[in-house]
């Protein structure tokens, strides 16, 4: 360090820091929540919301996710008209759903539709963790079930990106039963010889992990995604032992034989495209 810098060290840094904080707040800059690297937000967007320094995969919404894997202009959403009710009469439940509808532009915590990957038609479902943490109530279960049925009807693969805290508590046992409802639809789709690919993204836990997310013909995950049945804190309280740092990450699951492959976001479309192509029958 040169002599002249000694005297002016603190002030410019402070100014710079304040400016950066301001830019982060304004959304011009982005600070990685993992490695604290600061980058221009545009740079992060161009990198598919993956930190260029530490490879942290930021959460993205269902629309962004769909755009990353589906050929431009080919996606047609379905069942946007389904509306959540309040079967248990939980105070404020419908209002909370409405707030997230306005926030996300979705009718519920999953986007479903028909689209193409490199010209190959598939039915896609993308859960959205920005909508009630991606939790599954009746509408989410119904939309996913209808999407699976649509894939069965069209004799095309079904691909889902999961992101969910699990069954939605405010709909009680009705939420729980969506696990069974989606499963009977998946069984039929499978019986007809159709391909099902599940891509688990951060976070995929509880009832979603313990139903459709885990039973793809091929199970993929994004790097570092949290995937598990029970919550980490619940387990720590139950077993009273320290859990490893990588517990319930995609890498942990891969190591324990629960995943076929971890696929970075940049390679997702190509990987899915290849998988679909390898399952296409000769007459297509």
């Amino acid at each position: 360090m040169s002599i002249k810098n000694i005297f002016s060290k603190t002030k410019p840094n402070k100014v710079k820091k304040a400016q950066v904080q301001h830019d982060i707040k304004a959304g011009v800059m982005h600070q990685c929540s993992e490695c604290k690297h600061v980058m221009v937000t545009k740079e992060l967007q161009k990198n598919l919301y993956v930190c260029p320094k530490c490879n942290y995969h930021n959460k993205i919404n269902s629309q962004q996710r769909m755009n990353l894997v589906i050929d431009e202009g080919t996606f047609q959403s379905i069942d946007d008209n389904l509306k959540t009710t309040n079967p248990l009469g939980f105070p404020g439940y419908v209002e909370k759903v409405q707030v997230d509808q306005a926030k996300t532009g979705l009718n519920e915590a999953v986007l479903t539709g028909i689209g193409q990957i490199d010209g190959q038609t598939i039915v896609l479902a993308v859960m959205d963790s920005f909508f009630r943490m991606g939790s599954m109530g009746s509408v989410v279960g119904e939309k996913i079930t209808r999407a699976i049925e649509k894939a069965t009807e069209l004799k095309v693969p079904f691909i889902i990106f999961t992101a969910s805290g699990g069954a939605r508590m405010q709909e009680g046992a009705l939420s729980l039963m969506q696990m069974a409802k989606t499963s009977v639809a998946l069984e039929k789709h499978s019986r007809e010889g159709q391909l099902y690919v599940s891509v688990m993204t951060h976070p995929t836990t509880g009832g979603v992990s313990a139903s459709f997310a885990s039973v793809g013909d091929i199970n993929l995950a994004e790097p570092q995604a949290l995937i598990g049945f029970a919550g980490r804190r619940v387990i720590e309280q139950t077993v009273r032992e320290k859990l490893p740092d990588d517990f319930q990450t995609a890498e942990f699951l891969l190591k324990h034989g629960q995943l076929d492959k971890i696929v970075p976001r940049h390679e997702m479309k190509d990987t899915l495209s290849t998988i679909v192509r390898l399952h296409t029958k000769g007459d297509n």
Binding site: A180, V184, G207, A210, F229
Partner: protein
């Protein structure tokens, strides 16, 4: 001593008074026969009143009663020739989820059930009825075996939930339950599930994708325990009583929402008051269920199950 439940307190007190009067009548010169008769009538009326007006939280306590009959109690009482079959052929044998072959009225069946213990030692061995993945995989093995030999499957549901532990996660608790849901959907034999105690979340559902789901009158079936719901909703697990009501986890609530198909009545005060008589009620329902699905073709069984689960949910369009 028998475990008594808080809402039974007035009955216990009245019973004590009757006993006291009886002993006085026997040992002293004063005759309380009339009073005793009066109190006994009062007792019966009170008993009926209390047991026919159970709050959801009262039912939760009955469902958790330590002496409540377990899967093995029902299996031994209802079926003949029971042979327990062990292990998932992959990792181990889970004593929290048991199964085997048996017969009823000469017909071979496969029976499966969550199994908790009644005393501490057995409870530890059976992990308090909370299965690991190998339990679900054993259940699936036995179900596929039943399908091969064309025998109906009867499942008894009685668990707080699948075990939330490190080893369970490592061995794929999620996958084990998820696999069962899908495989059960496709079974070509009749499947009857009977919720006999607590039906805790995915761990209960893992053996509940049946053609018909029965619930004992005082059993529960829920996405989360009342304590868990209370701590999430109101950050206070002690409000479990309110959560039990809000979450609608009782048999009458769930029948109304079409989550379950039939309620099996319980003996007055709960199944533990008279396990033999209770087993007869359960047996009658199982016999009826087997009769109702007897003539279904394989395809009809799968379709009936599909249609049944397909319509569950509440939404507008």
């Amino acid at each position: 001593m028998e475990q008594t439940l808080p809402f039974e307190k007035p009955l216990i007190e009245l019973q004590a008074k009757i006993s006291e009067l009886k002993s006085v009548t026997e040992s002293a010169d004063i005759d309380f026969t009339e009073e005793i008769k009066h109190l006994e009538t009062k007792f019966e009326t009170l008993q009926k009143e209390i047991y026919s007006n159970l709050e959801p939280w009262d039912r939760v306590q009955i469902a958790r009663h330590t002496m409540r009959p377990t899967s093995l109690d029902y299996i031994h009482a209802i079926f003949d020739d029971f042979i327990e079959l062990h292990g998932d052929r992959n990792y181990g044998d889970d004593e929290a989820l048991i199964g085997g072959i048996a017969s009823i009225d000469g017909q071979a069946v496969t029976v499966i059930g969550h199994q908790r213990g009644k005393a501490t030692k057995e409870n530890i061995r059976r992990n308090f009825g909370m299965p690991h993945p190998e339990g679900y995989r054993k259940a699936l093995r036995l179900m596929k075996q039943a399908e091969k030999f064309n025998r109906p499957i009867i499942c008894f549901v009685d668990t707080k939930g699948a075990y939330p532990g490190k080893a369970a996660e490592e061995r794929g608790q999620s996958e084990a339950i998820a696999r069962n849901l899908v495989e059960m959907a496709g079974l070509t034999v009749p499947v009857l599930s009977v919720v006999i105690g607590e039906g805790g979340s995915g761990g209960a559902l893992g053996i509940s994708v049946a053609n018909r789901i029965y619930m004992l009158e005082n059993s529960t079936f829920s996405v989360i325990s009342p304590e868990g719901a209370a701590s999430i909703l109101w950050k206070d697990a002690s409000l479990a009583k309110d959560a039990a009501e809000a979450m609608r986890i009782t048999a009458p609530n769930l029948k109304e929402m079409a989550v379950i198909d039939e309620i099996i009545p319980e003996v007055l005060g709960g199944a533990h008051k008279n396990p033999e008589e209770q087993a007869e009620f359960v047996a009658a329902s199982i016999r009826q269920g087997l009769q109702d699905f007897k003539d279904f073709s394989k395809e009809q069984l799968v379709n009936q199950r599909y249609d049944k689960f397909r319509v569950i949910g509440s939404f507008e369009q």
